[in-house]
Subunit: 134 residues, 2 copies
Amino acid sequence: MSLINRNTDYAIRALVQLAQKKGKVVAVAQLAKAEKMPQPFLRRIMQVLCQNGLVVSHQGKKGGFSLRKKPAEISLGEIARVFQGGVDISQCLFRNFGCHNRQNCFLRKRLKKIEKIVVSELERTNIASFLTER
Amino acid sequence: MSLINRNTDYAIRALVQLAQKKGKVVAVAQLAKAEKMPQPFLRRIMQVLCQNGLVVSHQGKKGGFSLRKKPAEISLGEIARVFQGGVDISQCLFRNFGCHNRQNCFLRKRLKKIEKIVVSELERTNIASFLTER
DNA sequence: ACATAATGATACTTTTTGGGTATCATATGA
DNA sequence: TCATATGATACCCAAAAAGTATCATTATGT
């Protein structure tokens, strides 16, 4: 099990690259090549990022994508929300959906607590966090 | 995505039940019924718990399983380790296994950090933690 | 104008994994 | 000796994740 899936992973890497280019327009082909991501897959991811207002798309020759927000304003939490509907670490696994006593489930309570911690970590980590480290 | 899978989930529920029975021998059929878990599936889970020294099996008529350790000595972390090989929240999702620079992967580092927090929470939560709450 | 090189939109395929069954063998208490 | 429990394994199924393919549209440079 993993906290983030590949969509999220690739999206983060692409966004970090865009951030390094300081708002310049970069084509998917370049982004994909740099981190060895499958291009058509990344293309779809960029479209979704565009639809969700994280990047701006530029059509036509010399087109590509550029950041729409400041790196510091894009958190991992937001990206995860786009591609995974957030981080739902404590989801009920019970047979046929739904524990018979969801409200009082002892296990659920405990996992929710852990989830909160994780989510807050993801919120305070943003694209800018990664710029200096590289 | 979920922190624990169903094996782990069911195992926890079964162990809590056994803890409530204070070391008495309980058949899988009973355990399964109480939490509405699929019996043959739970049976396999109990076998694994037995092989890993968490419970003792008693064969034959009037057989079943009983706790081998004190509830306080069985952590969620240990159970997760048995059924999921631990909590590997920061696993590399990169194409064909392995980032090209696993050591310096900025994303991996960050996720590892979060993973540590989660694991420590799971370690300090044990079966006894759930006994009073019910 | 037009070829080229980019994204838009969408449908499809493949792979992996989680979750679950089925079955036969073995042990044991009444 | 029979009923009822676990031991050990092999197998199946469905859903989700990951990735591919294709055709339409838009902009640029000549």
